[in-house]
Each structure stands twice: as C-alpha cells, then as structure tokens.
Assembly symmetry: D2
Homo-oligomer: 245 residues x 4
Amino acid sequence: MSEKINVMVWNEYRHEKLNEKVKAIYPEGMHNAIADGIKAKDLNVKTATLDEPEHGLTDEVLKNTDVLIWWGHRAHGEVNDETVKKVQKRVLEGMGLIVLHSGHFSKIFKALMGTNCSLKWRVADDKERLWNLAPSHPITKGIGDYIELPAEEMYGERFDIPEPDKLIFVSWFEGGEVFRSGCCFERGNGRIFYFRPGHETYPTFRNEQILKVIGNAVRWASTKITITDVCPNFQPLEKISSKNK
Amino acid sequence: MSEKINVMVWNEYRHEKLNEKVKAIYPEGMHNAIADGIKAKDLNVKTATLDEPEHGLTDEVLKNTDVLIWWGHRAHGEVNDETVKKVQKRVLEGMGLIVLHSGHFSKIFKALMGTNCSLKWRVADDKERLWNLAPSHPITKGIGDYIELPAEEMYGERFDIPEPDKLIFVSWFEGGEVFRSGCCFERGNGRIFYFRPGHETYPTFRNEQILKVIGNAVRWASTKITITDVCPNFQPLEKISSKNK
Amino acid sequence: MSEKINVMVWNEYRHEKLNEKVKAIYPEGMHNAIADGIKAKDLNVKTATLDEPEHGLTDEVLKNTDVLIWWGHRAHGEVNDETVKKVQKRVLEGMGLIVLHSGHFSKIFKALMGTNCSLKWRVADDKERLWNLAPSHPITKGIGDYIELPAEEMYGERFDIPEPDKLIFVSWFEGGEVFRSGCCFERGNGRIFYFRPGHETYPTFRNEQILKVIGNAVRWASTKITITDVCPNFQPLEKISSKNK
Amino acid sequence: MSEKINVMVWNEYRHEKLNEKVKAIYPEGMHNAIADGIKAKDLNVKTATLDEPEHGLTDEVLKNTDVLIWWGHRAHGEVNDETVKKVQKRVLEGMGLIVLHSGHFSKIFKALMGTNCSLKWRVADDKERLWNLAPSHPITKGIGDYIELPAEEMYGERFDIPEPDKLIFVSWFEGGEVFRSGCCFERGNGRIFYFRPGHETYPTFRNEQILKVIGNAVRWASTKITITDVCPNFQPLEKISSKNK
C-alpha cells in the first residue's frame, strides 16, 4: 500500500466570494481549508471548483481520482448533468465519494441515493454533538465518544435517504433535533460517506476532529479499484438439457 | 383494510406484437396475463402500456395507484423522462413498485437504485429454481422451499444493485449461475420489490406460483400512504443559548 | 385476517411491589397498564409475571402466543435459563417479541442479539423526544414527527446492538445524548422490536402515543407462523456427475 | 500498520485422527494446512486444538489474538461454555472471527448470531461454484468472477442466520441448491466472516483461491482494537430543567 491516494476536493466556491462572513473564515475557499486540513504523507490532495472549465472534473482528472470530496450548496443546479453522469460512473467503477453537509441536495448524491435527500434545517447557531456509534470503524479512528461543535446549522430528521449500510454518527442539536450525520453507503464498486457538518458560515472545516474524520473517510473510501460496467451474454458453464424446451 | 388496493400493471407491450412466439404465449399481452393472474377481491387491477398517451400514466392515474407493476425491455429508451420523474416521485411518496425481469434496466429502476443494475444473461432454456430464503415473509406466503421453472432466460451475478433491505429469493440456474432474484428495497416512503422471472418467450406469467408471489408482493408493497416531500426551515423546540455565537 | 392476535405481556413485577413511587403510578403493575392500554378488537391480551410458576410462560402458553411483550429490570438474573431457551426457540419459529426499555439487558434480548446490549444511562428527569425516522412504517401509524416525554431515564449511545434491520425512532435527550430508541430486527422466522421508553418511575405506559406504538408493533410483529427448525440431509434435485470424485 | 496481525487457527482436530480418508488429505491436521496456506509477512500465525488444556485458548492467548479462525464439527458439544463466553467477549471487544464450514453449528457462532444457524446438507461430491458478489471488497481481492471446487459437501438454503451486513459469495451446487457462502457480520466492535467451504473429506484447504479468501478475510477482520464493555451512569452534558419533575 505504498501508493498514495489521489484525493480531489471539489467546492462550489461561491459563498466565499459573495458573503463577507464566509470569506473571513475561508479566505482561500473551503476546498483549500479541507485540502490543507487533511494533508498527509499517504494522500495526494488536489482541488477543483465549479467555475473551472468542466468544473475542474475532466475525464482525465476523474480517471486519476481515487476519492472525491464534494461541497456544494447554492449552485447545485449549475453543475452540468454530463459531469454528474461521469462522476456517478466513476463511483460505480470504484471511486470513493465523500459528500459534505449541503451536498445532501447535490445532483450527484441524489442520483446515487435515488431518494429526495430532504431534511429539516435551521441556521440558528445550534450547538451540535455528533455521537460516535461505531468506535471500531476506521472512520472514527482517533475520535472519542463524540465531537462537539459550538455552533452549526441544524439538520433534522427525517433525512430521506436509503437505510445506510452502516451508521457512524448521530447528531444531537441544542434546539431539540437529531440527525444521522455520518452514513456509509456502497454503490456499485464504490464507497460513499455522507458527513453532515460544514455550513459555510461556521469554521467547521478548521475543527481538527472534523478534519480527522474526513481524512479517515478518504482512506476508508479508497479502493484503488476500477471495474468497468458490463452486461455480458454469458455462455453456460454446465450442460443444459434439451428437454426443457 | 376494507379498502381495495389499486394496482396498475404497466407493460411495454411491443414483443407481443412483433414476435410470433411471444404473441402465441400472451395473445392479450403480458399485462393482461398478469392482471388476470393476480385478480382477487381485495385488488382493483388495471393495465397501461407504452404506446398509450403519456404511457397510460397520467398524473391522475399515478395519484390513484397504490402499487405499480413494471415490465419493459426493448423500449426502455422510449419511456419519457418526465414520466419516470413522476413515477419516482410517487414511489418516494409511498406508492409501491414491483419491477419484473428485464425491468432491471428500466429508467425508473435505475433511477431508484442509483447503480448500473447490470448482470450476466443468456437465453438458452435454462431450468431455474428460485430458493425461498424468507419463509415467514409475506411475499413468500403459500410458497414452499422453492419455485421451479422448466425453462427461463438466465440472469447471473454480479447484479449491480445496492445491498437489498431484505433478500427473498436466490435463483439456481442449470447452466451454473446464481442470482438474487427476489429483492426488497425501501426508498423514501415507498416499498420496491424486484422479481427476476418473466422473459417474454416463456409462459412464466402463466405459472401459478409466480403469480402468487406477484400478488403477495402487491399486498406487501401497498402502504396506502402519500407523504409529500418537504425540506422545511424548522423552528427550535428548545431554547438555544446565545453564547454559541 | 379475522383471527385475533394472541398477545402476552410479561412483566418482572417487582419494582411495583417494592417502591412506593412506582406503586403509585402502576398500582396493578406495568403489565396491566400496558395490557389495558393496547386492548383492541383484534388483540387477545393476557399477562404473566416472573413470580408465577415457570414465570407464567409454560410450553402451552408460549405455543399459543403470537407476540410476547417483555419488561424486566432488577431481576433479569432470576429468569430461568430454560425459559429463555424456550422463548428464543419460539421467536425463531415465528413468534413476535417486543422488548421494552430495561429489557435491553434481559437474557432473552442478549441471546437473540449476540452482543452486550450495553449503553449509557441516567435517571435525572431528562425530557425525551423520539424522532420518527420511518413515517410510512406500520409501527409509526398515527404518530407524527415525534413523541415527546416530559421526563424519562436517559439511555445514550453507543448502544451495543447489531445494526438494526430497520431504524424507526432516534431519541433526543435534554442532557445532551441521542439513542436508537426504536429498532426492528428479524431473527429466524420471528420479528423483534426494541422500544426504549418505560422506566418504572415515570408514567410512560400511560402515554397514549407510547401505547399506540406498542400496539402497532404487536401487529407488525405478528406473523401467525410457526416453522419448526430442521437441518435435513437433503437429496439432490439434479443428477450429480460421478467424475467429481 | 507495520505491526503484524496475530492469527490463531483453531481446529477441533478429531476427524483427522479418526478417519483415514481425512488423515490422508490432512496428515498434520486442517489447522496446519490453513496456517501454512495463509502464511505471509504481515501475519503471525499460530494454531490451537480442542484437546489442548483450555482448548489452547487461555486468557493470555485470547488477549494476544487479533483474528481467530474456527473449524469444528463432530465435537461442538465438547467445547467448554466458559471458553465460548471468553471468545464471544473478545469478539465484542474487537477481535476478528473467521468461522469455517461446519463451524456454522459451533457454540460460538450460534451465540453471536442468536439464531439456529441450520441449513440443508448432503455429502455427495457436488461440484460447487462460489460466485463473487462483491468484486471491490477486500475479501475478494485477487478472486475473479467465481471459485470452482470439483467436489464438496452441499449446504443449501434456507440458512438460518440474521441478514448479513454484507453478502460476499453465493454458491451454486451441482445437485440444484444455492447457499450464502460468504457472509460478513459486525457484532460489538468485532468483525465476523462466515465462509462455507471446507468439509473434512475434501482437499478444500489445499485450494489456493480458498486460502486466498481466508487470508484476505483475516486482514479485513483485524481491527487491532480492544474496547472494554461498560454500561456507565453518565452525567449530563447539558443543564436539565427542573420543571420536568
């Protein structure tokens, strides 16, 4: 396993340019905060944003990405449908995908889940506490009983997703709600992790534990496998009796 | 539960008009064979086909359907994308969906699964034996250890679907393959059952046990519930401390 | 489905005799509060308690029980191992089982789960809010977004159970914790529902919504099926080639 | 991850002493065939057998085992209940467990599953073909579409286990049956893999692909984590209102 994992952090990168509060927290954009925050010897981390040509996700880039991290919010609709199809194809081939926060409503997440992915929400500086339900899972390595965030956007159930293959975190919110905030899914040959925190107006991607979870999730989601989809006409391995006809 | 379940059997209805062998088996179309085969006092069964206006699936029809049965094959591409979106919306609201055989590649099944839904296949008169893995599940009511079909198209693993919420049948094929041939999924508020048998050139929808499974699946999938999708800005139920800011 | 469901409410029935506070809330015992609270035309409800001969769970009684409701706490250790084995056998044959609150540590629940079933706990009058994650599931019929209990014992994650087959409720606690408080499991041919609320010092089994959930769970868990366990030497259905030897 | 994985191969080791046919295939016992077959630089492999003191599974041994491989058959009943409890405790703490073939009826597997674990069976030299349902899972690394065994004991559905957390292999048998022959489970903090092949009268543990799967499973099941079970009285993290009383 000496080969590095190729990670691409994709960010819409609009709020940081339009909202002074966001710009103050993430002057280089959330993508760079995340990329810096997870950098490690075993990871080769790059970034791409919505306004680059082909959203920075060309065929060549996707082919060479082992794990894609996705943050989007106000401009989900501007993501090209063709790009979404290519990303979905790559996930089903074996690329990992980490969907952050408001990415629950991204085209790519909805396409992979098949559901509405809707939820309750509120921006009111709720304290959030993410409880660790899977202490022996690689995604929670180095995380204790819970992660506490002093203020975040609230996301509340019912979160309209398929039953996760593995539930990692459940959040408690000060205003009275709960949320399945860390969810593993397997689709095709790819691994997907949805991770709730990360509203643009809070310094969540400066939090060391949040960054540790994202880094852990990258390693969990990396399969280094690419399996091309086929639907073959398959010859029998055993003799078929002619009497069936 | 005195209210009847409104069932709509949807069929592409092309093979029966184009292929003499199919026409001989299903002169009135597979949809009518299925509708006749499952008729019962608690079911109100109707049919619709691809070439009807709006494929026979108008807003009014979908609104009044509790469970939709879907058979398609050569003309998946001709199903209108708008109709697919409407059917998906209705499933997520609570409508049941039974997807038969080659419907694994229908737009609606792929949209709900998020995966390629590909598989191995062969039309070579394989004997098929569907083993019952869930003898206490309502879908296998009245079915014993297995169902045997003298000749069918073969579908083989790997079937590219999300892990089913419940696996009901696994098929053995004479030529040497296996297949997860009865799979339950829950998506949104709707229940989905994928059931493998039913290639157009075999009289599978004349088989009493196959028809019994389809009828059982209709009753399992009917929730009689319609929940409209919302993503509300939700007011706190508890006081939020101002110190978080 | 005209046949009634035979429900047995089993209660340890010790706290009500030893603790004045509990006696004041449940003078006839929790079992009678539950039995009264769920009574309906389609249910035939009986009760049994620890101190009856064979804990009131003779072979004859178990044979005629479709769904068993279990409440135990301080005297888990006094439940006879032989009775636990018989109950487990009946669940695997098809009997439903509803495990309430402190029953998480009962011998029968631990035997069926295979795990420690441990959790965090506190008796401090926490407000509890049970969020409904499955609005179209039969167990939440008639329940809205959530159930609120003014004061309850707190149970917190990590709850050491296998991943539930379906997660129905997640609880929010005033003191800052969350808990998977409504969990469906299938084991053998039987259906199991674990439901968290119901500490003896609170009038939880007087709450109409809690009683509604228990009644719904009884109907969901009733299969009316009894499948005897076998491990047969099975004759081949197809000819086996002698060349394999 | 430079630290080696400590693997213990446990074998009943009776058939090899009592049956000439078995002795001829495995003169040193199946445990040594497996230990030799999976040896690698990252594994530290030892063996233990039923007739050793404490079955070779002392507290010290278990404490230092990362993954335990289990083969038993005719003498399941002779395994000490106390040892079974200790092994279960270690699995729930984080030790991996690979259960082979007739181990489906071992005390330890039944205790962890909570079900009967029964199945259909036949010793008639059936050809077996294990289909790979999870080509990107670490357990199938280096395995193609399927593994073929020229002759094995048949195990047929229904296999009475909880729905696996992940289904890896499904077997086709020449005599007409199917079986979920590679199943992942998570229990407590431990990972469990049930792998079907390995009847004592066939040289299955000489097959390179079978040995590769077992080696892969060892690496998948090793968490190198030990989490002691607790059920703490937990102090509130947030202030609880006195008005609830």
